[in-house]
Symmetry: C2
Subunit: 97 residues, 2 copies
DNA sequence: CTTTCAATATCGTTAAGCGATACTATGCTA
DNA sequence: TAGCATAGTATCGCTTAACGATATTGAAAG
């Protein structure tokens, strides 16, 4: 029951965090686990790729501690999508809560 | 983007309405359309069936205008699930909004 | 007993989620 | 400079969910 909702929300959460700073796959997985949710790599990475492909995120490769990380940051299009989504989500949630 | 979120929410919406009164398939479809969302029969009915099977809803058949309707109403288990879900949803949404 | 109609049900296809496993590129060690 | 260890990313194959389209149901009307 909650898993569905969480999954529906995951793209919004990703955009939200990518709006506040640079994020990367493993960081997101940890962040979500901190909040009691978990997502596998096989789910997360395809989502990141599609968000990038659709222009909501942009990618920047960087070497950190000798390992390559793919940092993602929100784009203008992503910001717009996020801002458009917020009131709709609010409406959707407030009816029930 | 919004479709995902809406779909994640649909079970909660169904439970919510089934908590306020008797509901049935077509009514739900219309109710959602009023709010700007749509769901096909091929998606909705399997969801209703599974919610019933898992004990969140109970069904009652009734004849209305010479047609058989399957009315659904929330169960005790459904009420519990709904009440448990609310604060989690709130938390999930408030971080982003 | 045939037709009509609102409503429900399901079939076959497409898309999404997921665990498991493999890959990549760098720094470290010697 | 060859070899190894490791964080992080990528993808394969399977399972489950969403969906449009089409079929089925059963009471009532004629």
């Amino acid at each position: 029951m909650m898993r569905n909702i969480f999954l529906g929300f995951i793209r919004i959460h990703i955009l939200h965090h990518a709006n506040e700073g640079d994020i990367f796959g493993v960081w997101i997985m940890n962040e979500l686990r901190r909040h009691g949710y978990s997502i596998g790599a096989g789910t997360l990475y395809p989502i990141l790729h599609s968000l990038e492909k659709e222009g909501y995120l942009k990618r920047r490769d960087e070497v950190v501690n000798g390992k390559v990380r793919k940092y993602y940051r929100i784009t203008e299009k992503g910001v717009n999508a996020l801002e458009e989504a917020k009131p709709k989500i609010k409406e959707l949630v407030e009816e029930v809560i």
